[in-house]
């Protein structure tokens, strides 16, 4: 096959920025909420352990309330941030690649050509199974770490996405 190298007008290149991204499903938001709730409850309870130690005088014990309260406040803040981050996440498929946007302060848009995908996997955590969502991971030849990880896709969507991408990558 002859190698061609035609000039490309930069203005006519397909632009990844002008894409309508699919948001993640509401199930993922519920999962985030429940996950946060569980974590916050555990941490707050752990912070309350000093309160029940009888050896500590009651005047000091009042000040110990600082720990569970600040844990609670932090938990609420982190949950709120996670929810905002959830709203910013989105993915899209193009003819030759998959686009994923994430990040609250460091807004990151990753584009991964199908051709470069070496393998893909779908994982379901225990909580994720409860909400029918899954995590989709793509790996390229670039290294051992995950190249693209989309958490909280509906399990069916994740499976379908994986198959579509692998099919177009030529892995059948």
């Amino acid at each position: 096959m002859a190698f061609t190298n035609l000039p490309v007008d930069p203005g006519t290149l397909p632009r990844a920025a002008q894409l309508q991204l699919h948001p993640l499903p509401a199930e993922h938001r519920r999962e985030i909420l429940v996950q946060s709730l569980i974590t916050v409850v555990i941490v707050v309870l752990a912070c309350m352990i000093p309160l029940i130690i009888p050896a500590i005088p009651s005047e000091v014990r009042i000040f110990l309330w600082v720990f569970p309260i600040s844990a609670l406040v932090l938990g609420v803040v982190f949950t709120a941030l996670a929810l905002v981050r959830f709203r910013r996440k989105g993915y899209a498929l193009r003819e030759h690649d998959i686009v994923f946007r994430t990040g609250l302060f460091w807004r990151k848009v990753t584009v991964l050509p199908f051709d470069r995908v070496q393998h893909a996997e779908v994982t379901h955590g225990p909580l994720q199974r409860r909400f029918g969502v899954a995590t989709l991971k793509f790996f390229t030849a670039g290294g051992s770490s995950v190249d693209l990880k989309i958490e909280g896709l509906l399990a069916d969507d994740a499976e379908r996405l994986r198959e579509t991408v692998l099919e177009r990558a030529g892995h059948g």
Binding site: M1, N5, P14, V109, L112, D115, A141
Partner: protein, 529 residues
């Protein structure tokens, strides 16, 4: 020769044994991995045994003899167990004494095959074949004790089998491979570069001193892993502390200071010498040639290294020019390949192991570097490219504020509480940091020339990476809200060999570069891996 005879047995199952010289290689590998690590401890033990009367020297020596015997026995068992078998589409290697394993590598997973002649095998005409495999769990397979001729033949076979295996099962690289097969092959390899002694000496001088020192020792021992323990052992052996105490007793503090200064100066003078000696060991008789679609490099004084890399496996070419290289107007060139065979498996100083195995073309004049880059990356023209810088304000602000912020606070507090002189110190450091940051900013840039991109960073010297845009694996564009307001972004390009980030590019440029790279990656029919 022994290595061509099948293992004796009632049925010939194809397993082949290697020559008994491999025993030596097993011993060396073991020394490299275990014994040298334990050597400092042993030296301490021996020293305390010699000085105190509780521990007897005889006992310690007996222990050492026992250890050596155990090691030899272990090597013998390793040798007896070791075997390899060539199948139609894969190679199997059987090894391990207690933890027995059979490694099974498909030819199409083979990235690279090297033939290495360590100094302890060279007199016997024997070599070690190293097989680099692809994949994240990749590691090098060593086949020690193969006669040089058969080793070269085997490399040819492994590499060409790797090619045909690829031809059968995939169609994308077929085009390019077919083209190569049509090209004249089997002709005499064309020599691209030969380094003279002078070039090698300059290579030694321009390389990183400390790394070279480590490699100089490492080359003799067979690996760089042990360099650090060697240093500790040498210090122990010289009994530096004892010498210092003696000096102080004899001539007071002044003499001690003079001796320390003298020793430091000597060490500083010695480092380039060690570095040059290291380079001579590693790069003596450096020859770079091209044979069909493969670049081949052979070098080495005591141990000969013979590596090759296939043209389409090259992911990027990096030009490294540090301050000393700038002085000599030389460039050290490095080929970046997608080799997962870094030292991660052994867990020991992967950086150094990488450096030893990586494909370096040292000590090039700018014109040579230019010409060779054109051979490594066909169609890459780096001369006409004009670099675009990054946003100065953001670069300077972030790089200086994070450095100077805490420092300034401390200095101001010190100036108020202790002495106003700290303000002068603060000013000096401030100006220095700003100047350094400014210089680094000036060295940072990127360019697109045809189908290739060029990223550069540096301080006094520079580090320039050229890569074909279609080799891109993945592109990330990162932007903070503040950057969005100023129209800036970070662009990270992931290649199969490594990743590179340009910080504070103009957002439109970053987007355009990303779209161009993706366009190339998705439309190119060329083999990228």
């Amino acid at each position: 020769m022994a290595e061509t005879q099948p293992v004796e047995g009632p049925q010939d199952d194809g397993w082949r044994r290697v020559s008994p010289t491999a025993l030596m290689d097993f011993v060396v590998v073991m020394i490299r991995h275990g014994i040298l690590q334990a050597l400092p401890a042993f030296a301490v033990l021996a020293y305390s045994a010699a000085t105190s009367d509780k521990l007897e020297l005889r006992f310690v020596l007996g222990l050492a003899v026992l250890a050596v015997l155990l090691m030899l026995a272990w090597s013998l068992f390793s040798y007896l167990r070791f075997g390899y078998r060539l199948r139609s589409t894969r190679i199997e290697v059987r090894k391990g004494v207690l933890h027995r394993q059979v490694l099974d590598v498909d030819f199409d997973r083979i990235q690279n095959v090297s033939v290495h002649e360590p100094f302890y095998m060279r007199p016997f005409g024997m070599a070690v074949i190293g097989i680099d495999t692809a994949g994240s769990s990749g590691k090098e397979i060593r086949l020690p004790g193969i006669a040089l001729g058969p080793a070269r033949e085997m490399r040819e076979r492994l590499v060409s089998d790797a090619r045909s295996a690829r031809l059968e099962d995939s169609d994308a690289p077929e085009a390019i491979d077919g083209q190569e097969a049509a090209a004249p092959r089997g002709g005499a390899p064309e020599v691209l570069l030969q380094l003279s002694r002078k070039d090698v000496v300059i290579a030694g001088l321009t390389a990183n001193f400390m790394l070279w020192a480590a490699i100089a020792i490492g080359t003799v021992m067979g690996s760089g892993d042990s360099a650090e323990s060697m240093m500790a052992w040498v210090a122990e052996w010289l009994n530096l502390r004892g010498v210092a105490e003696d000096l102080e007793r004899e001539g007071g503090k002044l003499l001690l200071a003079a001796a320390v200064a003298g020793a430091t100066l000597l060490a500083l003078l010695l480092l380039p010498v060690i570095s040059v000696v290291g380079a001579l060991f590693r790069y003596d008789g450096y020859t770079l040639s091209i044979d069909g679609d493969r670049f081949r490099r052979a070098s080495g004084l005591l141990s000969r290294h013979d590596d090759s890399v296939r043209a389409h496996k090259i992911q990027a070419v990096t030009w490294k020019q540090n301050a000393i290289a700038l002085l000599f107007e030389r460039i050290n060139l490095q080929l970046r390949q997608a080799s997962a065979g870094s030292g991660l498996e052994s867990g020991q100083q992967p950086g150094l192991a990488d450096l030893q195995r990586s494909f370096q073309v040292p000590s090039l004049r700018p014109a040579e570097a230019e010409a060779l880059t054109g051979r490594f990356l066909p169609g890459c023209r780096s001369d006409g490219a004009r670099l675009t810088g990054v946003d100065r304000r953001a670069y300077m602000l972030v790089n200086t504020v994070f450095l100077l912020g805490p420092f300034s606070l401390g200095m101001i507090v010190a100036a108020i509480l202790v002495h106003a002189g700290f303000l002068i110190l603060w000013l000096v450091v401030f100006v220095t940091v700003v100047l350094i940051a400014h210089r680094c900013w000036r060295q940072t840039g990127w360019a697109v020339a045809g189908d290739h991109a060029m990223f550069r960073r540096g301080f006094i010297g520079s580090n320039t990476t050229l890569f074909p845009l279609f080799k891109v694996q993945r592109v990330d564009l990162v932007q903070t809200p503040l950057q969005a307001r100023r129209g800036l972004a970070h662009l990270t390009v992931h290649l199969a060999s490594h990743s590179m980030t340009i910080h504070w590019m103009r957002f439109e440029d970053a987007e355009r570069l990303r779209d161009l790279a993706l366009y190339q990656a998705e439309n190119s029919q060329e083999a990228w891996f």
